[in-house]
């Protein structure tokens, strides 16, 4: 259904799997776009490229990057996997945190554990639906989003959110210099996940399954558990991203996570992954996250109305796709 697309960032010889410094060459275009956008932002609104604002942007991007990990896993594992429930899970997590903590810092670990558990459960059901019942990922995660949203509403009964522990709200504060805590958290988590993906048996299995599902089966790889685990972790990570999100913003509302769903997909694709699976990196997804948030910020700095901003965001995305993301021609 969804056609294959070449990644935006793999401009080097696509046939060589680059090693060492070579690999980082493929991130050059994204890096350039980021620099250009910063310059543009600075021109449009002096102070845009100030340390404080850059830190702001990176902080927001870190939240997107965390949920982009979820999306990455699901996409890497192949068969056009996608998780449209991540936004709902983020909202759930953000809404439930005040209830579980009741403003007490001591309740924080337990609260995080609970929301991650719920997110993982949702992810587990997604994975089982996809792999055992053979429901397309797009369909089941779409419906799961409705279920999770409904659950959140039912759980909180629409009551206003209680207080959040102050310590959670410090994620948005700088830890040292202008570097915010949430950025550090995101970097650490991304590094850990990338190491797992690159060097562990499970991580390698994920990419093998995405690269050629049939061959994976024939070589004896455990398909069902690899996929279900991927979706489960995706759900857990989305919940965690929601925790960081609510800490950063300081309050929660039911629609908070909505925009993150499709943005996480865009971030992963801009970062170099193929929608068909089998390739991609978390660094790429993180860069993609920065590009997206930066783009929005620049458009805001340009003083454009919401309408025109949204319009331009869509237009720019479509243009990027036109230049970089085309399926192979039907005729050779």
């Amino acid at each position: 259904m969804i056609t294959n697309n070449e990644s935006i960032l793999s401009n080097t010889n696509p046939v060589k799997k680059a090693s060492g410094i070579e690999r980082y060459k493929s991130y050059l275009p994204a890096a350039i776009i980021i620099v250009v956008l910063f310059v543009l932002g600075q021109i449009l609104s002096p102070g845009f490229a100030s340390a404080r604002n850059v830190s702001n942007i990176f902080a927001q991007a870190s939240i997107l990057a965390l949920v982009a990990i979820s999306q990455s896993l699901v996409i890497f594992v192949g068969e056009f996997g996608i998780d449209l429930s991540v936004g709902a899970i983020m909202s759930m997590s953000a809404m439930l945190m005040p209830f579980y903590t009741q403003g007490q810092a001591s309740a924080l670990p337990m609260a995080i554990f609970m929301v991650v558990l719920i997110g993982g459960l949702a992810g587990f059901i997604n994975g089982t639906g996809v792999q055992i019942i053979k429901i397309p990922a797009l369909a089941i995660t779409l419906v799961m989003a409705t279920v999770v949203d409904g659950f959140t509403l039912a759980f909180t009964k629409g009551l206003p959110s209680k207080a959040l522990p102050e310590v959670l709200k410090t994620v948005g504060q700088p830890l040292f210099g202008q570097v915010r805590t949430c950025i550090i958290i995101a970097v650490v988590i991304i590094v850990i996940f990338q190491l797992v993906l690159s060097y562990s048996r499970y991580g390698k299995s994920v990419f093998l399954l995405g690269s050629n599902r049939n061959a994976a089966k024939l070589t004896g790889l455990r398909v069902n558990s690899t996929v279900i685990i991927a979706f489960t972790i995706a759900g857990m990570m989305a919940a965690f991203a929601g925790v960081i999100m609510v800490g950063y913003v300081g309050s929660s509302n039911l629609r908070m996570g909505d925009s993150y769903t499709l943005m996480s997909v865009a971030a992963v694709v801009i970062g170099g992954a193929k929608l068909s699976g089998g390739s991609g990196t978390l660094l790429g997804a993180a860069l993609g996250s920065i590009v997206l948030i930066l783009l929005t910020s620049v458009l805001i700095a340009a003083g454009l109305s919401t309408g025109i901003r949204t319009f331009l965001q869509g237009l720019i995305l479509v243009m990027i796709l036109l230049f970089n993301s085309r399926a192979p021609k039907l005729r050779v």
Binding site: K17, K217, R331
Partner: protein, 502 residues
């Protein structure tokens, strides 16, 4: 009516690093039946696809009907009534026979609605002409392989061709079907249609065609009248090697007739899915067993079922009774499976050469593997860096790497489903050497092949070999030693009883 006057000049085409066509010239007259002959990699299929508009050549031009002609899509070629049957079948499995037949020119009533009645009547006409009227109400996925190819041919006929290209459909057909095709070709030829007949079966070519074009390595090497050619001459032209009488009569040294050594794989009462009867098979240490027969008679199903791909399988491996429920268990018990469809089932396209090679050893069997470079060199794989993606190598080399993924873990049993499909002659014989090495190390090899000549060559590689011929899910003939010849295999594939039916 304009005369066809079909002519190609200077057609060249490259797919990446592979040169498929080198400055090819080709022409055909009205009503001529031309054979297009060549081995794997000769370029004959590519040339056909260029003519039919499915592939755009890098250079060259075509004239037809006295005008420049370069179809940029199959749609355009069809407008000029240049129709090609497709080796991979252009039929839609979910649609019915009738729907598929009229697919290219769907009749309408009232200018808008599909005329189902007309579709049926057109279908009936063409199906009865080809003596397959009984297939009318079926869906494509309910048909047997030979029936599918007959419908593929019928679909081409329905489009009223002026130039009909028949691409390798006879390998899946029974003798009686081939007779029907022959008669049909006679008929269209008399109506002024030209036919390009692609096949590797020389007897058919002598029977059906008037002229023959031989291709090798992307170029045309001969254009002659069939009447003036001999089988030996054609084979020499195709392979580029002169076949002497000695080669043709090559006997086996010390031809063995019984299984030696211990039995590695043993199974009885195996019912292949989709067939009624059961079969049993024993393979000994160091044996290479070839599996022959017409496509679709259970050969592929046999090796796949043995590997645990269908349902669970009770068999005896190396004296030990086991149950295999899935490929993972099979691999852990020392089995290996090599598929000929490397794109869909073999190559991990995003991964490197080294990752592709290591996958079974590292991840499934958790065995640290030998130097990857050493293995590649031993198999004469041409590569730059093991960190490069596997897909950067040529097809034959890719397949060798896929095979070495298994050989490097010393499997007891190797099951192969047409493993050399679509790779060039050189790489093919290198693969046979790999299998020879495996057998010498004590593995048992069970290899399915759709190419009878290959099975004959493979049998010569060791002195412990058998070819079993399958038909309708049963083993109907076992050939050993000197008995293994193309004629014998061919004969055994089509039991006399069957072709007398209908």
């Amino acid at each position: 009516m304009t005369f066809l006057n079909f002519e190609c000049k200077g057609i060249s085409k490259q797919f990446g690093a592979v040169v498929a066509l080198k400055d090819v010239g080709f022409s055909i007259k009205e009503g001529e039946v031309r054979a297009l002959l060549g081995g794997n990699g000769s370029g004959k299929s590519t040339l056909a696809k260029v003519i039919a508009g499915a592939v755009k050549p890098d250079s060259g031009n075509i004239t037809a009907f006295d005008a420049e002609f370069m179809p940029s899509s199959p749609d355009e070629a069809k407008k000029h009534h240049i129709i090609m049957t497709s080796q991979e079948l252009s039929l839609f499995s979910n649609l019915s026979v009738a729907q598929n037949l009229s697919f290219c020119t769907i009749p309408v009533k009232g200018g808008l609605i599909t005329d189902n009645k007309k579709i049926l009547s057109v279908a009936k006409d063409i199906l009865s002409e080809l003596n397959v009227l009984h297939l009318l109400d079926k869906r494509i996925d309910e048909l047997a392989p030979n029936e599918k190819y007959m419908i593929e041919y019928a679909k081409a006929l329905v489009q009223d061709p002026r130039l009909l290209i028949i691409d390798e459909i006879t390998s899946a057909l029974y003798k009686k079907d081939v007779e029907i095709i022959k008669a049909s070709i006679e008929k269209v030829k008399n109506n002024g249609c030209s036919v390009i007949f692609i096949s590797h079966r020389l007897p058919e070519i002598f029977d059906i065609c008037e002229t023959v074009t031989v291709m090798r390595s992307g170029a045309v090497v001969a254009d002659m009248e069939v009447a003036n050619a001999s089988e030996q001459e054609l084979i020499s032209l195709m392979t580029g090697k002169t076949i002497t009488k000695e080669d043709a009569d090559k006997r086996f040294q010390d031809a063995q007739t019984e299984t030696q050594g211990k039995t590695i794989l043993s199974i009885s009462d195996l019912k292949l899915s989709g067939f009624e009867s059961t079969l049993g098979i024993d393979i000994g240490e160091g044996e290479i067993v070839g599996v022959a027969g017409l496509q679709g008679h259970g050969q592929s199903t046999l090796v796949r079922q043995l590997f645990g791909l269908e349902s669970h399988m009770s068999l005896t491996i190396d004296g030990e009774k086991t149950t295999i429920r899935n490929p993972r268990q099979a691999v852990k018990k020392g089995m290996a499976f090599i598929s000929g469809d490397r794109e869909k089932e073999g190559v991990f396209k995003e991964q490197s050469i080294s990752e592709n090679l290591r996958v079974v050893g590292d991840i499934i069997l958790k065995k640290r593997q030998k130097n990857v470079g050493e293995i590649l060199d031993r198999y004469h794989v041409v590569y730059g860096n093991t960190g490069h993606k596997l897909v950067s190598l040529s097809g034959g080399n890719q397949q060798k790497v896929v095979i070495s993924r298994w050989t490097s873990v010393f499997p007891k049993i190797v099951l192969a489903d047409d493993p050399t499909k679509g790779i060039d002659v050189q790489a093919r014989s290198e693969v046979h050497q790999i299998f020879k090495e495996l057998a010498e190390q004590g593995s048992a090899v069970l290899m399915v092949s759709s190419d009878d000549a290959e099975l004959v060559n493979l049998a010569k590689v060791t002195n412990k070999s058998r070819v079993i011929v399958m038909y309708e899910g049963k083993i109907i003939k076992v050939l050993r030693g000197a008995e293994i010849t193309e004629e014998n295999i061919g004969h055994a594939s089509m039991p006399v009883v069957r072709s007398d039916e209908n």
